[in-house]
Every structure is written in C-alpha cells, then in structure tokens.
C-alpha cells in the first residue's frame, strides 16, 4: 500500500530526515488558519507517482494563488484517483536534485539501495541508478556503498551525507515493514545539506497484523469499493477487475493467470482475476458468486479450481448449494480437480451439474456462452 506524500514524509521525519516545513489542507477553509510564505509548491495528494508531469504540482506566488491552486487540486483526479488533500510547502532553491531509494529486490534476497546523481521528474530517462545490494540491514556497510557511489557522485560532502541517509532509509524499511522508501528528488541546499523534497513509501500489506495503521489503511481502501466487491475483499478474496465479460472464479495465483491466458487465447476476454484460495470456504465462494452475479458486464462464470490443501468434494457440495440458492440466470461452467476429485461426478450428478473434463473444454464452453450472450444483446433480443 502506497502512502500519500505527507504521510510518507511524516515517517521520514520520525527517523530524523529533513523535509520541507509543509502544511496539509483538506479544504479551502483550512488555508485561513495558516501563516504561509511565498513562493510555495501546492501538491495534490494521491497515491501514485508522476504527479509533477500530470499537472498535480503548482507553483504559487501569493495568497490568492494559493486559494485558487488548493481549490483546483482538491477537485483533481489522476488516473481515476480522487485527490485526498493538498500539501503546501516552501518552493526551495535547490542546487541539485538527486535520487535515493531503498527497495525490495528478490534477486538480492532482500533490500537494495539505488542512487542517481541526477534525480527529479526525468530520473527514468537518464542513466540507470547505481545499485548496492546489502540484502538485509545487518549486512549494510557504508564503505561498500561509498565504493558504489564514488564513480557517479564526485561531491564528497554530498556523498558522505547520502551514506548516512541510506542507512536510515534501510532501517525504516526493515523495521517498519516498507517495501519501498524513495526520495526523489533528494534536494541539495546550500553547503551540501540534503532535504527530502518528495517521498514515496510503499508499506507491506502483509504486515497489517503488527502495524495497525497498515491494517486500517487496507480496510479503508476496501470502503471505496461498491458493496459486493468490498464484501469479497473483506472476505480475503484476491480480486482484480479486468475489462472482459468471462467471470473467473479460481484458486491459486498462477493457475488463475494460466486460465485467464487460455480465455484470452480462445478469443474471449477475462472479466477478472479472482483467487479464492485464501478463503476456500462456503462463505468465500458465496461472496465470489454474489460479486460476479451483481456485475452486469459479466455474461458467464467459469469456476476453475485445482485443489491440494482444499478438498474438492467439499467444494463440489458447496457449488451445488450455491447453484440451488442463487437467483442469477448467468450460465456457470465448472472445472474442478485435485484432492478427492473422484467424488465430484456423484455429487454433481444428483443436481444435473457437469464437471468439464479439461480446462480447455471449460474455457471453450465459457467463451462460446459469453459470445452468444453478447450477440443476443447486440441483436436487440434483450
């Protein structure tokens, strides 16, 4: 989960990293109470990068300008994400803009430090940052990082300060469950003093059990979703809405992607990534059906589950119960296999349900059903 800039900077200040003296405003009214000095930067608060390039950062020279900028930025949407606040900060005279981050890299078995002497909004178009891979906090050695930085950073005062800063970012990542802590630009003020002009922090959703603020943020992000989706996410289903019309209820991330790809290759369009493996219970599967049944753009539902720890005779019984209960007339295609799958034909047979022999068969049936439903809508029959 990506923090807003002002939240990220609060975390940085907590380990003694200097940031601009800013004010967060949530409405135009908040401005009245502030004693602002100009010029300043007004920055929209959304949880995504590239705000500067997309008009989310405005330079402001006076009180009137501040009013206008705040009003405008509070109404701004970037990639469909509504602004949640505006951060007002002094417009600083920077001598240079650097890039410094700590992030998780599987190939390093843990954390890596990335540095570029040319930061700012165009960091991605320049030479790639230099990389130091300590893996874990305990393995960090400033002298090793110094060797990595020396060929690209010739100002020794700046370089030594970057070393100290890198350790703090790594501490933050390792002790506060951050997957990425990025400062870009890292500003150089007079006399080589460093300041975090912008900050991006991604915290680890999996650490919610020991970080109440992560848990709270995840829960409040669910609240932004419409009801059936919110309930499914609360029920620990892993769900990503895609653009197609073939609903997919699946188990296991790799298997779900494999079936999405087969739907795509068969000329269909998957409507979602929906992995129920974290909650393979009657209530989990009910939530999945309720969500897909309620989505008018989904024409058919394909259930594809290959269970290991999940016992498939139980899943089959739950599917029979759900088929008895549900009101939707959307067709459902099944392909269940795995532990105790030999009991499925008897359980399905009593209700007249069919379990497809292969995923390919099930995908073909589902894509055909979606296509004929689409054709009937285009033909004006419904």
């Amino acid at each position: 989960m990506m923090l807003l800039e002002y939240e990220a900077k609060r975390l940085l200040r907590g380990v003694g990293i200097q940031t601009p003296q800013g004010h967060v405003v949530f409405s135009e009214r908040d401005l009245a109470a502030l004693a602002l000095t100009y010029p300043l930067a007004a920055k929209v608060q959304v949880a995504s990068g590239g705000r500067g390039k997309r008009g989310g950062v405005v330079k402001v020279d006076d009180a009137h300008g501040a009013q206008r900028a705040v009003a405008m930025l509070l109404e701004t949407q970037l990639d469909g994400e509504a602004s949640r606040a505006v951060l007002l900060e002094p417009w600083l005279p920077l001598e240079r803009e650097l890039y410094l981050s700590v992030t998780v890299d599987g190939t390093a078995g843990g954390y890596v430090v990335l540095y570029s002497p040319h930061g700012g909004i165009d960091v991605e178009s320049g030479a790639p940052p230099v990389r130091y891979a300590p893996g874990r906090l305990q393995r960090f050695r400033a002298h090793e990082l110094r060797e990595v930085l020396s060929p690209v950073e010739h100002d020794s005062v700046v370089r030594e300060r970057v070393l100290l800063l890198a350790r703090r970012l790594l501490m933050l990542a390792a002790t506060r469950d951050c997957l990425t802590v990025e400062i870009n630009p890292l500003g150089v003020l007079s006399e080589g003093r460093l300041i975090a002009v912008d900050a991006k922090v991604v915290r680890d959703d999996a650490a919610g059990f020991r970080a109440p603020e992560i848990d709270a943020a995840i829960r409040s992000s669910w609240d932004l979703e419409p009801d059936p989706v919110r309930l499914a996410l609360q029920g620990r289903l892993s769900y990503v809405r895609l653009e197609g019309d073939v609903g997919l209820i699946s188990g296991g991330a790799g298997m779900t992607m494999a079936v999405m790809d087969l739907i795509d290759a068969a000329g269909g369009r998957p409507a979602c990534f929906l992995d129920c493996s974290a909650n393979p219970t009657p209530s989990g599967y009910r939530l999945a059906f309720e969500m897909l049944d309620a989505d008018p753009s989904i024409g058919v539902i394909l259930v594809s589950i290959f269970g290991g720890g999940t016992h498939m005779e139980r899943v089959a019984r739950v599917m029979v119960e759900i088929m008895d209960e549900r009101c939707s007339t959307k067709p459902v295609v099944f392909r269940l296999d795995g532990t105790n799958a030999d009991q499925i034909p008897a359980i399905f047979g009593r209700r007249g349900l069919v379990n497809c022999a292969s995923i390919e068969d099930a995908v073909r049936d589902a894509v055909d059903l979606a296509r004929s439903r689409g054709a009937s809508i285009v033909g004006g029959e419904r």
């Binding site: 998780v104 890299d105 599987g106 190939t107 078995g109 843990g110 954390y111 893996g135 874990r136 990542a173 390792a174 002790t175 469950d177 997957l179 680890d204 999996a206 650490a207 059990f209 020991r210 892993s238 990503v240 895609l242 188990g251 296991g252 991330a253 790799g254 298997m255 779900t256 992607m257 494999a258 999405m260 790809d261 087969l262 739907i263 795509d264 290759a265 998957p270 990534f273 992995d275 493996s277 974290a278 589950i305 290959f306 269970g307 290991g308 720890g309 296999d337 795995g338 532990t339 799958a341 995923i359 390919e360």
Partner: protein, 292 residues
C-alpha cells in the same frame, strides 16, 4: 535419485495439532514419508495420528532424530517457528504459509543460508519426490516417478501441469514449489543447480509468471553448453501492468518483469518456452524426444 527429499528423511511437523498439520501428517505417512514427530507448545506428550507431539523442535530432534521440518503456523508466528527449526539443526525446512511480511522472509532466508540449510517458501505447497516421499500438501495423484525435474512459482499450476505430464507418461524425479513471493528461501536458480546435479533428472520443466527475476535465472542456466534440456511455461500474458496478480511477486513494475521480455529471454537462451498451458506438454514431449 531425487533432490532434497527421499524416504530416509525424518520429518517433524510444527503445528501438528492444527487442521492442516493433522491432515498432512496422515497424508504424508500414507505416501511413505517418515513423519517421526510433531510440535505444539503446550501439547507435548500427546500424539496425533500415532506421531508423538513435543514441546519444541529441539526436543523432537533429541527424541526422534528428526532432520527436516514442515511448518504449519500462521504468518505472525512463522519467522520464529522457522528459526526454531533451523536452530534445532533441521537441514531442510518447508514453510508453506502465505501472507508473510517481506521483512520476515528476508530474515528466514538469511538464517537458512547462514546455517547452510535449505528453506522452501513462503507461499509454496512444498516438494514431492514421486514414489518416494512428499513434504507438503500437493495432491499425490498428480505425480508419478520419471525423468523430469519440475520447479514452480505456483502451487495449483504445478498440480495441473504435473498431472498432465503424468497422464502423458512423463514422470518426475522431484517437483519443487519455490513459491510466489518476491523474497524466498530456495530460488529458481538454486533449485536448477540441484536438479542439474541430479543424474536421474534428464529434463527440466519450469513454471513461471510475470514479475520478479526467476525466469532470467532459467535463461542464464540454459545458455550453458552442458545445461539439461529445459522447458518453461510463463503465465500472465493477459494480465494488465501495474496490478498485483494475487502473488506478491506477480507484479509488472518494469519492462524486465513483463511477459514479453521474459519469453524473449527464455527463447533466445534455447528454452522450450510457451505462454500456453495447453501447449506445454506437447512441447515437453518434443524436448525429451529430440534431446534423447
């Protein structure tokens, strides 16, 4: 021969009194795995499925000679449980659980390396040496003994593909679930090195996905002149960029993470690579026929 696991390994199940632990104890023993002990703090002295339960892994090792651990505990307790198994001297530890914070995965991985032990996981069904032993919760019926070494980032995908291979008469020496998280114990590259050194394994099948860098280890291996023939399935071609597809590691955040870049690297290295699960088994058959 198989890698990592055979019928001689003595297994302790941490959390044996839980639902998964109890099921797994019976399932593993039915398959021929030597399950010699379980642990459940506060329940020492009892037994599950005839297996004695100890207070700690150290006590289990002292009492039974266990050398291998299978760890069924919730994410919040996982790091401590894995460290306990390593401290007690277990040389192979499987942690199947998902939802583990990355910071804990980093510590687990480092602790296993420090001791020269092998950690599998997090987020894996475990591993199986068909016909010999299994250490995890994969459905036994999918697998049969044979010449292939299989490495997978995804559990259910490995069941489906292994079943297809088995039905096609292509059995396996060892099927290794390395897991879907970005930081893990045994990596694809390390699993490859084990399979490379195993004389019974004459072909390798790798099941990968978008995100992360494991696929590049496969490509690097296959570029070596003495590499064993290798086939790969990479799933996630139809997944949109920037969205996490269930697995914490299945996220395209750069060009290198994309399906296209990975397929290109694998094909250029000489891997029998495909994007389609339907095409994989015919491709493996062709590989094994052509290369022998």
């Amino acid at each position: 021969m198989s890698v990592l696991l055979d019928a001689e390994k003595s297994v302790v199940i941490q959390g044996i009194t839980g639902k998964m632990g109890r099921f797994s104890a019976r399932d593993l023993m039915e398959y021929g795995t030597k399950v010699v002990a379980g642990t459940a703090p506060g329940r020492g002295g009892s037994s599950v499925e005839g297996v004695p339960v100890f207070e700690s892994v150290a006590a289990a090792v002292r009492g039974t000679g266990a050398d291998t651990a299978l760890t069924y505990v919730p994410a919040a307790a996982a790091l401590d449980a894995v460290l306990e198994a390593l401290d007690a001297g277990c040389r192979l530890v499987v942690y199947p659980g998902d939802g583990l914070p990355v910071a804990d995965a980093i510590e687990m991985r480092a602790a296993a390396k420090e001791r020269g032990a092998v950690l599998l996981g997090p987020n894996t069904p475990g591993l199986i040496s068909p016909g010999r032993a299994k250490l995890g919760f994969m459905p036994s019926t999918c697998f049969a003994p044979g010449p292939l070494g299989v490495i997978s980032r995804s559990g259910s995908l490995s069941y489906e593909v292994s079943k297809r291979l088995t039905v096609a008469g292509l059995g396996q020496t060892t099927v290794i679930g390395i897991g879907g998280d970005p930081v893990k114990g045994l990596t694809a590259g390390e699993a490859l090195a084990l399979l490379h050194a195993d004389p019974e394994t004459t072909g390798i099948v790798y099941l990968g996905e978008i995100g992360g860098g494991d696929e590049y280890d496969i490509a690097a291996y296959t570029s070596h002149p003495d590499a064993k023939p290798t086939a790969a399935l990479v799933v996630g071609r139809s997944a949109p960029p920037g969205r996490k597809m269930g697995h914490a590691g299945a996220l395209v955040s750069s060009r290198r993470d994309t399906h296209e870049a990975k397929m290109q690297a694998l094909l250029e290295a000489g891997v029998y690579a495909t994007a389609s699960m339907a095409a994989l088994v015919p491709l493996v058959r062709e590989m094994m026929h052509y290369e022998s």
